[in-house]
């Protein structure tokens, strides 16, 4: 018997013949299934992944909260049990001012941010019988970290449960797209907790590190709350050096301090040194020069610096040190710390290129100065 032209597939399913009813079912059923239930199937598949990440966010939030409470109980002297009050901090919210106000909302945001900071500081202080400035700034920063992790968890959970409740696949798509970015920040925040507890410098502190070194043999004076300045000289130019007061875990008040120093010294140029987020593919620790105020945050400090620079017609130059989110808020990596001399040389070059002898320069080291004195 010759089986050479016997095709099993063709015999049972008649693949060459479209009139076979079994074959028609095999093709049409999945089509119908995907047309009517495709989104639900995708929702089920995506849900699994989101659920895992949600559990991870929940764990990060709980771990960082427990770490903070453990740190307080072990290293500080709280009045009674601080847990209830600390848990209340994590749910604090800020209502942004109405943005249809034609008079400008920056001063309102500025006031709101400062009053939130001041209130939190007072409340942290009231939790302890005795606490120094270093510990207050550390606790404040750690509270911000746990609050942010809690917010991430709440938002992701809300979007996920809403999509599930309404069986609404398109609603879950933006969440699926944003989740890797949220997780990157959450990972970095979780890694930042032990670093801050030990008061170690973070990648964001590279600006204060450079300026702190330039300030070493100068008389430190208060420019604003938790912000100090010193006066120095370089090749006939007067240098006014400004940074947050270290080694506290603070960014200081660079906006108000710049207003004060510009009004007092009328510098010819302003140079700002700050950490900046790198693009994917860029090396961490790369240095770049540019123009304009290099400062992050909600925008009120940058606004103040831009306003005062415009008022006195002062050019603003910037030097940024590129790094990832994780590098910026966790222990400063060696390759970033090793750039200090290189950055200082670039600052000096910028000064000689853009000013002449007897002129003055305001150099600002922007960033959190935890673990970096001056």
């Amino acid at each position: 018997m010759d089986f050479s032209d016997f095709d099993v597939l063709d015999e049972f399913f008649s693949t060459g013949d479209s009139s076979n009813p079994i074959m028609m079912l095999v093709w049409i059923l999945p089509l119908i299934l995907f047309v009517f239930y495709g989104q639900r199937i995708q929702l089920i598949i995506t849900s699994g992944d989101i659920k895992k990440k949600l559990a991870k966010l929940d764990q990060y939030r709980n771990d960082s909260r427990d770490d903070l409470i453990q740190y307080i109980k072990k290293n500080l002297t709280p009045k009674g049990d601080p847990v209830e009050k600390i848990d209340r901090f994590f749910d604090y919210f800020t209502i942004m001012p109405v943005d249809i106000d034609p008079n400008g909302i920056v001063p309102k945001i500025h006031r709101l941010v400062r009053s939130r900071e001041d209130t939190t500081r007072k409340q942290v202080k009231s939790l302890f019988t005795e606490i120094d400035a270093m510990e207050i700034t550390k606790i404040q920063t750690l509270l911000e970290i746990v609050t942010t992790l809690q917010l991430f968890h709440k938002i992701v959970r809300h979007l996920f449960l809403t999509a599930k409740k309404q069986n609404n696949y398109p609603l879950i798509l933006p969440l699926q797209m944003m989740l890797p970015f949220i997780m990157e920040q959450a990972d970095a925040l979780r890694d930042a907790v032990p670093v801050l507890q030990q008061g170690q410098p973070i990648g964001d502190g590279i600006g204060p590190l450079v300026v702190g070194e330039m300030m070493l043999d100068t008389k430190k004076q208060k420019a604003e709350f938790e912000t100090v300045y010193g006066e120095s000289e370089f090749k006939g130019r007067k240098l006014i050096l400004l940074k947050a007061e270290g080694p506290y875990a603070t960014v200081g008040r660079p906006g108000e301090a710049t207003e004060f120093l510009v009004s007092k010294f009328k510098p010819n140029i302003i140079i700002m040194i700050d950490a900046a987020l790198k693009f994917e593919g860029e090396e961490s620790g790369t240095i770049a020069q540019g123009f304009g105020a290099a400062i992050g945050g909600i925008g009120t400090d940058r606004f103040k610096i831009e306003e005062i620079a415009t008022k006195y017609d002062i050019p603003v130059f910037s030097i940024v040190i590129k790094q990832s989110v994780s590098d910026a808020i966790t222990l400063m990596k060696k390759k970033i710390a090793d750039q200090t001399d290189n950055i200082k040389n670039q600052v000096h070059e910028m000064i000689t290129d853009n000013t002449s002898a007897n002129q003055s320069v305001l150099v600002i080291g922007v960033g959190n100065t935890v673990g970096v004195s001056q």
Binding site: L331, K334, G371
Partner: protein, 60 residues
């Protein structure tokens, strides 16, 4: 982002103000950059912390 199998070890770099002799050691609680720590063993100058940084140890 730190890789899962990466261990970050924190180090403190000290330098003598006078003879510039450097010493790298493990970070200890209370260290901060520009803190004066001790007298230099070679020239009796002031030793201060110049850097605190993390280095990656990749397990074999």
């Amino acid at each position: 982002m730190f890789e899962k199998n990466e261990i970050i070890e924190s180090h403190t770099l000290e330098e003598c103000d006078a003879c510039k002799k450097q010493l790298k050691r493990k970070f200890s609680q209370g260290d901060y950059v520009f803190k004066y720590t001790s007298k230099c063993s070679s020239c009796n100058g002031q030793v201060r912390i110049t850097k605190i940084f993390g280095e990656t140890l990749t397990p074999r």
